[in-house]
Symmetry: C2
Subunit: 404 residues, 2 copies
């Protein structure tokens, strides 16, 4: 029996779950309770994410796992054990979270460059920000051309509360920016495969310097130490920017004159015309767009009972707050304004919306569209791009339900 | 080997953890990682809460378990696996969450009384509210007279996001209130011991009808189905009211002319003069009061390094929002205003506060005091009461730290 080096409870539990799985015949023999069928049939998750709520997620591969639409609930925040997983490289050894405060970050492009430990970062400031963390390819599965890459539906996204130190506070403590900085560049601490050009595989992303205002170096997620699988001990959070820009295991933060030369920046994650390869001249996948989708009733939850139905979902504005959400039950011919409910976690979070409707038996084509505070409406159709990024089209995210 | 009837993942993991514990010698032999010492020394949690993060909690008894002060983090919400446990009766069999939607609630004192299933409740409305859930006795351990009952420190509290149906929507769907209603009375679904008067042990609490405005019947907590140990499938949430009024496993909701005759209402949970038994003439433990405490630096975290220190904690207003928090490092002789940080989850939630200070080596007496939007200051000293309830005195919640 192999046991993990990571002494955290979650790891122990995960390993324990594997033990239970191994004895599940015995478990089922001793109980009259229904067996967790979905979990039993699906392929078990790899060890580094074995603690996830596997029955509530869809595993595409061991490094691409999304939340089921039915698993979102209606409480604004996404529980850590249901949050999607997307890693560009295998995660570093889990032992890096044995001494979280000892993890070090090199800060460059400031007047007094320094290597700071998390312990030192914690003395520089505390801020808490809720953001939508969304994979750049979320919704790719709804593009008709079937671009290559994971066919995410709605589940490569979550609303997370992060806690850490504002990047601007770190810069201030190190004497301010050096001259010429135009980008904020973060480098992940993944171990790179040997024998190939590091730039071809390393996770290093640059975002415009304007993000200095809101970016966070986070060591906490939803009130607990940042799990290793989500970038712990330390992750760069760039509110409003898609997942790849939120560098896990960050070990270097540089204020640079140029964008990173890493392939993931230069020729990866670009909005390129259909049929074309990514090129540095194409826009980088940075800011997210206004988007919403319905979580309940869910497309695969079976017939809905006639009568009052609470149509609910989530809506995000990308870089600004959501102002309004409309819901249609006739595929977009007519719309009704939904009510935004629950706590407002700030402009980078998503909002829940609810529309109560009395539905007679029949078939309904559900859709929703959000509007942000700058009066931008969610697109009806997102133009296709070769990487299948940032699909936010409301038509593609709609679905039909049967009311009986 | 016993395995639990509850098929949920958490249960399986919990059971798995026990298996791992049984083989922990092997685990430690195979890894160089430090052993989780605190968890290994403490008494294991009972099965119904074995999934809790045991290293981050203090177990007083199997039904009274609090969060460590150092475990709160700075992300506003309290993770479910760190949230305190306080049960007045043993929890019902875990099988009640096998069919969450099938759980039924009798609603009385309305024009059309009915038994409603959770499935039916879900069709009536969705609301999401963040509240401080706090045991009535939180802080009892700081009363000098050492009243009987669990000696809670700060950890019998958490900030939780609940999702469910507003009680007022249920009332509206059942034709409105019947005449004469003055209280909202909830009855828990715990199995009562046989052979004794049910009233002497049942969990049934009445709160003033004014709570109709904000009360919720919740089936979700922090984005996941309400865990069995916290009252799932269905719990009554009375925002601003102490824990005992938030009835777990609620099976009856009645709008009544009188307060419940149950002992827990009549002669329990009363603010009684020191040395006196609880009496119905004494005020019921209902509304919580303005209160705050410092979580970091923590009293037991060892010497703090000289230099910049981020003094942080949480502050609640009870029935109204927090307006301001002051921090003292000299035992209350002088005060400085802290900054409220992070998302504002609404008036029933707590806020985080932070005060950055440069501290020279020495000993400091830390304290904080909150003020609500109605200009009520947190008490310096809460007058003692025989049950040791609702201690919010700032002096008792202070502590000293050494800076080296």
């Amino acid at each position: 029996m192999q046991l993990p080096a990571d002494p955290s409870r979650r790891r122990l539990l995960a390993q324990g779950a594997a033990l239970v799985a191994a004895t599940s015949g015995a478990a089922q023999a001793q109980t009259a309770a229904p067996a967790p069928a979905a979990a039993a049939e699906a392929k078990p998750f790899p060890a580094y994410v074995a603690w996830k709520n596997q029955a509530q997620m869809i595993q595409h591969t061991g490094t691409t796992i999304e939340t089921k639409r039915t698993a979102y609930g209606t409480s604004v925040v996404t529980p850590v054990d249901r949050l999607y997983i997307r890693n560009n490289l295998p995660a570093p050894d889990a032992s890096i979270v044995n001494d979280r405060d000892g993890w070090s970050l090199a800060v460059e492009g400031v007047r007094s460059p320094r290597v700071l430990t998390v312990r030192e970062l914690k003395s520089l400031g505390i801020e808490t920000t809720a953001t939508v963390l969304q994979c750049s390819g979320n919704g790719r599965g709804y593009f008709p051309s079937k671009p290559s890459g994971t066919k995410w539906q709605v589940g490569a996204a979550g609303c997370v509360i992060w806690s850490g130190v504002p990047v601007r506070s770190v810069v201030a403590a190190l004497g301010g920016l050096a001259d010429g900085a135009r980008f904020l560049t973060g480098t992940g601490g993944e171990k790179l495969p040997e024998g190939i050009d590091p730039k071809s595989v390393m996770v290093e992303r640059s975002v415009p310097l304007s993000n200095l205002e809101n970016a966070l170096l986070a060591w906490e997620m939803n009130g607990e130490p940042l799990p290793h699988a989500h970038g712990g001990p330390l992750r760069l959070i760039v509110p409003g920017y898609s997942g790849v820009n939120n560098i896990k295991y960050i070990k270097r933060l540089a204020f640079t004159a140029q964008e990173s030369e890493a392939a993931i920046q230069k020729t990866g994650y670009r909005i390129s015309p259909l049929g074309e390869k990514h090129d540095p001249s194409h826009p980088s996948v940075w800011e997210m767009e206004v988007k919403s989708w319905i979580n309940g009733p869910a497309p695969d939850a079976g017939p809905v009972k006639a009568g009052m139905v609470q149509i609910h979902g989530v809506a995000m504005g990308g870089m600004q707050a959501v102002k309004r959400v409309d819901v249609s039950i006739d595929g977009g011919q007519t719309w009704r304004e939904a009510r935004l409910v629950g706590p407002d976690l700030g402009r980078f979070a998503w909002r829940q919306f609810v529309l109560p409707l009395k539905l007679e038996p029949g078939t309904y084509q559900l859709a929703c569209r959000a509007q942000d505070v700058k009066f931008n409406w969610q697109a009806e159709v997102t133009p296709e791009n070769s990487g299948g990024y940032l699909n936010s089209g409301w038509r593609a995210h709609g679905f039909s339900i049967t009311v009986a």
